[in-house]
Point group: C2
Chain length 215, copies 2
Amino acid sequence: MSDLKDTQPLDRRAKILAIATEAFVTNGYAGTSMADLASSVGIQKASIYHHFPSKQSLFIACVTEGYEGALQKLEAIRADASLSDANRIRTAMAEIYRVNLTTPVGRMAPLIAEVAPNIPEVARAFHGGFIARHYALVTGMIEDGIARGSFTALDPIGLRQMIFGPIIFLAMEREMTADFADRDQLNPVDHIRQSHIDLILRLLTSPPPSHSTHN
Amino acid sequence: MSDLKDTQPLDRRAKILAIATEAFVTNGYAGTSMADLASSVGIQKASIYHHFPSKQSLFIACVTEGYEGALQKLEAIRADASLSDANRIRTAMAEIYRVNLTTPVGRMAPLIAEVAPNIPEVARAFHGGFIARHYALVTGMIEDGIARGSFTALDPIGLRQMIFGPIIFLAMEREMTADFADRDQLNPVDHIRQSHIDLILRLLTSPPPSHSTHN
DNA sequence: GTCTATATTTCGATAGAC
DNA sequence: GTCTATCGAAATATAGAC
């Protein structure tokens, strides 16, 4: 058996990752020091370097392991044949809201933008492994609905931007106003989510453009 | 007259501000060093401290002076009685796209979020002086159109988020993919802007909810 | 695997000559 | 108003004991 001091090394690594991810998305990459991280974890600075060879490698691990599994529910929603096309969009949007407002991965976009000039590979990984796959899933749901006649044929790229943009922006605004006393009045999260989903569904099920009636 | 060495001090200050703003929005607050700034400006580090007493004061000047005047065109659009309600929204959205994609102020939101825990007053100033006033202008245009019968009565808060969210998110994505070879294919700016504006107008002029016909 | 101690660099900021 | 030179603090990272 292992020594007494060898207390769950996997948990230790996971704890470092979790605390580092939260610190990175809150204070930025350059704004997060290894000393602060060590203090938050409750260990010494040098101990972090036993689990991760450098600050940059720790950061890359936070990002790439951070979005692992974030797409699983969305993929299940996409494949769920029991949902109507409209309810599939509603359920998917609610899931995107949940991930982006309750997990750090939703606040990673500005973080990636900050480090992109110095660590270009992490920008590529995040875009290909997280953003692009989200786009493909949602665009696929929309195009399926259009093909089945459930939705009006509207531009999927514009729709995609109108689905993700307000959510990411809301997560950023929440971060920006984190210490405002009137934070919830400035950005009523539940109200915005419901209204946003309703308006997207309204768009998708609105009558086709009038000039197409002569086809 | 002034000395030869006294070469346009106002231009020097403005040059520091412009270069610092670009550096801050690109690399973040903590990721921008005074030495890098001085090198970019072409002066010595100590010379910056003649114009700004500290890095923090320089940053605050970048933010507060950065959004000065960004609202003037939008206010003129709001007051332009020669525009139809629909064209006012179209013109206003095009202006918001222009400001957010071609000036640094559009990339300030993530930057403010980064420094908000340490410099809360700048978050307040940015929200009150830039974001809230943008919201008020656009929401006013929408409510005017609803009152005149040009637009369907839809939730202005949800609409506001669907107007600004995709634009700010697009600016962030452009930053994140700045060195991607396929950047313009991933985010076709002109296409997204046109599609986004069209879809917002489509929402605003769509027929009212069917269940309201029995009123 | 975690610690103490330290090497080395870079940071923001200042002093003082010109 | 800009410069050279430098300070003290804080950064990343390493060495080596246990």
